[in-house]
């Protein structure tokens, strides 16, 4: 038997039907929020030179990227992340700009992660970058934007967890420990391994660090634990950040985690993650990365966010959150001789903003078959133009 080519490779998939409608709706609503904050869309290429994403600029190990060669033998990479591309584009086109720049994007990213772990290799990201602004106001804007995007998507139960890498960096300097121990401690803190951290250090702030997450009271607590300037500055910034977010009226969505140290080399200040029920991973990630653009030749402190659209969609499905608007389609069914009448009707309906699909009647099919078909494809109304007689009208209840 001839092999039927119907399979997709592992890690990629087709998205169709109501899922596709939902995904597009979700993206559209979140994009409207981005635009409402003055963010301009930008599109960068799907693949770029390897150098754009290499270790010191990206956040992904090289062996998890899809690489290939161009005709000259340059190594190309399917983008695993969009932020470095934007950093490159901005450094190129807006090198002289002294004021801040706001960009938003939507696109698919490709990560060649290990097989058979139930993780997709192609996924959709939507994000924003605020470039050339090092103020705490910019940090707050990014977090407010994340909250508004999730609310627009229809999510109700979620929290944005905010940390600041400066607190941990300050403590490391304070204790004066060597690189290797600092690394070990970082892993333990990141793992929230309270008891092991206790065994490794006697610095009171460090011992408490894995527990320093929760509502804003932990900032007060943290302040009393240490006296080093860098750590206190980090706390002061988070406190100011919270005030501003309360100014947006969004305080209740924000919590803090001073032990959040993931991608610690990449982020330079505030970092945040958005969590909700129904998914084991963050749906929003972001933070301040002040040194990335410098690597492309522009000195510009920046802060960004990314919404993991597919993860968000999964979470919303599991939480059984309906998206109210559904695309209803009208079907016009006609016998060949009535095509002109049917067209007129279709035009009129479309002008009024309806979605109309035309089907020429197949005489071998009964009306019942068409009703079943309509049910399968979320068609709510059928107009039927038969050779003789009035136009018939059906409401299909799924």
């Amino acid at each position: 038997m001839k092999e039927r080519r119907i399979h997709t490779p592992e890690g990629v998939r087709d998205i169709y039907g109501s899922e596709c409608v939902r995904k597009n709706h979700l993206s559209e609503r979140m994009k409207n929020v981005l635009n409402s904050y003055g963010y301009r869309d930008i599109q960068t290429p799907t693949f770029e030179f390897f150098d754009i994403f290499n270790q010191d600029k990206g956040s992904l190990p090289s062996n998890q990227m899809y690489k290939f060669f161009d005709r000259e033998g340059n190594t190309l990479v399917l983008r695993p992340d969009i932020t470095p591309s934007i950093a490159r584009a901005v450094s190129k086109y807006f090198n002289e700009e002294i004021f801040s720049l706001r960009f938003s994007y939507t696109g698919n990213v490709f990560i060649n992660n290990s097989s058979l772990q139930g993780r997709m290799k192609e996924s959709t990201q939507m994000g924003a970058e605020l470039i050339g602004d090092d103020s705490v106001d910019a940090d707050a804007e990014m977090i407010a934007l994340s909250i508004h995007m999730l609310l627009a998507a229809g999510l109700k139960d979620f929290q944005i967890d905010v940390g600041h890498v400066g607190f941990f960096k300050g403590l490391i300097k304070e204790t004066g420990m060597d690189e290797e121990r600092a690394q070990e401690l970082r892993e333990l803190v990141e793992n929230k391994n309270f008891f092991a951290v206790e065994a490794l250090t006697d610095n009171p702030a460090m011992i408490q660090l894995p527990r320093l997450f929760g509502s804003k009271e932990i900032l007060e607590e943290a302040k009393c634990l240490t006296a080093n300037e860098e750590s206190l500055e980090a706390i002061a910034r988070l406190e100011r950040l919270y005030e501003i977010i309360e100014g947006y009226g969004l305080g209740k969505y924000v919590t803090f985690d001073l032990g959040m140290l993931s991608q610690y080399e990449y982020y330079t200040g505030v970092i945040f993650r958005g969590y909700t029920y129904g998914t084991g991973d963050a749906v929003v990630k972001g933070g301040r990365y002040d040194h990335l653009l410098q690597k492309f030749g522009k000195e510009a402190p920046s802060v960004g966010l990314v919404v993991v659209v597919d993860e968000l969609l999964i979470a919303m499905t599991r939480q059984k959150l309906e998206m109210e608007e559904r695309e209803s389609i009208i079907m016009i069914l006609y016998e060949e001789e009535r095509l002109m009448d049917a067209l007129k009707k279709a035009n009129a309906l479309r002008e009024k903003g309806n979605c109309v699909q035309m089907n020429r009647m197949d005489m071998r099919m009964t009306m019942n078959d068409y009703v079943e078909y309509a049910k399968r494809f979320d068609i709510e109304t059928i107009y039927c133009f038969e050779n003789c007689g009035e136009v018939k009208f059906w409401e299909v209840n799924p």
Binding site: Q159, K192, T255, Y275, T276, T279, G280, D281
Partner: protein, 211 residues
């Protein structure tokens, strides 16, 4: 209140963990029945669900949030390399990850020779030889009775868990190098830790007290 779901690695670890949980007042009656065919157990009063799974699957359940909390050996955590919070060392199930082989193989570990290493833990073996010893090796994945490999000549050495060393001794093998100590650990899903912070930290503190 939502259910908190526990994933326990089948066998000794689960038994021990259950006895500690019982001391904390978390009883799972149905789980004590050795003949039960049920896969998941519920304590409606405390809103706790619990299931047993193959050890190597525990980190997977927890990473994806299918379970909020897991109890599993450090060996499995290292081998699987999942994104989890590894919050506590339970201190039981202690053993050591070792490189073992016949005395004659000791010399092979001293030079940059390409040797064959059989293991149930290919990732741990690779990490140890490549990143710690900087020796290039060929790792052969086996699923059980790894001690056979050096005896029948499938590999020069093995990487495996050693508890008492009896099996090794009876087969003319010995520990050549120690890789790391192991024991049972509590792992928590990263989202659950945040969304159910109070309940989970409360449980962990209680657990610490009964240990």
């Amino acid at each position: 209140m939502r259910y908190l779901t526990f994933a326990l690695a089948k066998g000794r670890l689960a038994k021990k963990t259950l006895s500690y949980l019982e001391k904390m007042g978390i009883e799972m009656e149905e789980m004590k029945d050795p003949d039960t065919r049920k896969l998941i157990f519920v304590n409606e009063e405390l809103k706790i669900k619990m299931f047993l799974s193959k050890a190597s699957d525990v980190p997977t359940y927890v990473e994806y949030g299918a379970a909020d909390i897991g109890v599993v050996g450090k060996d499995t955590i290292l081998e699987e390399g999942r994104k989890l919070y590894e919050v506590m060392d339970l201190g039981f199930g202690k053993c050591t990850m070792c490189v073992c082989g016949p005395e004659s193989a000791r010399d092979l570990l001293k030079h940059q020779q390409l040797i064959r290493v059989a293991s149930k833990y290919p990732n741990i073996a690779k990490d140890y030889f490549y990143n710690k010893k900087h020796q290039t090796v060929e790792v052969i994945k086996l699923h059980g009775s790894v001690e056979l490999a050096p005896i029948v000549g499938l590999a020069e050495v093995i990487v495996d868990i050693v508890e008492t060393g009896t099996t090794l001794k009876e087969n003319g093998l010995m520990v050549l190098e120690e890789i790391c100590p192991l024991s049972a650990r509590v792992v928590v899903n990263q989202v659950s830790m945040k969304m159910e912070n109070e309940r989970i930290t409360g449980l962990l503190n209680e657990l610490k007290n009964v240990l």
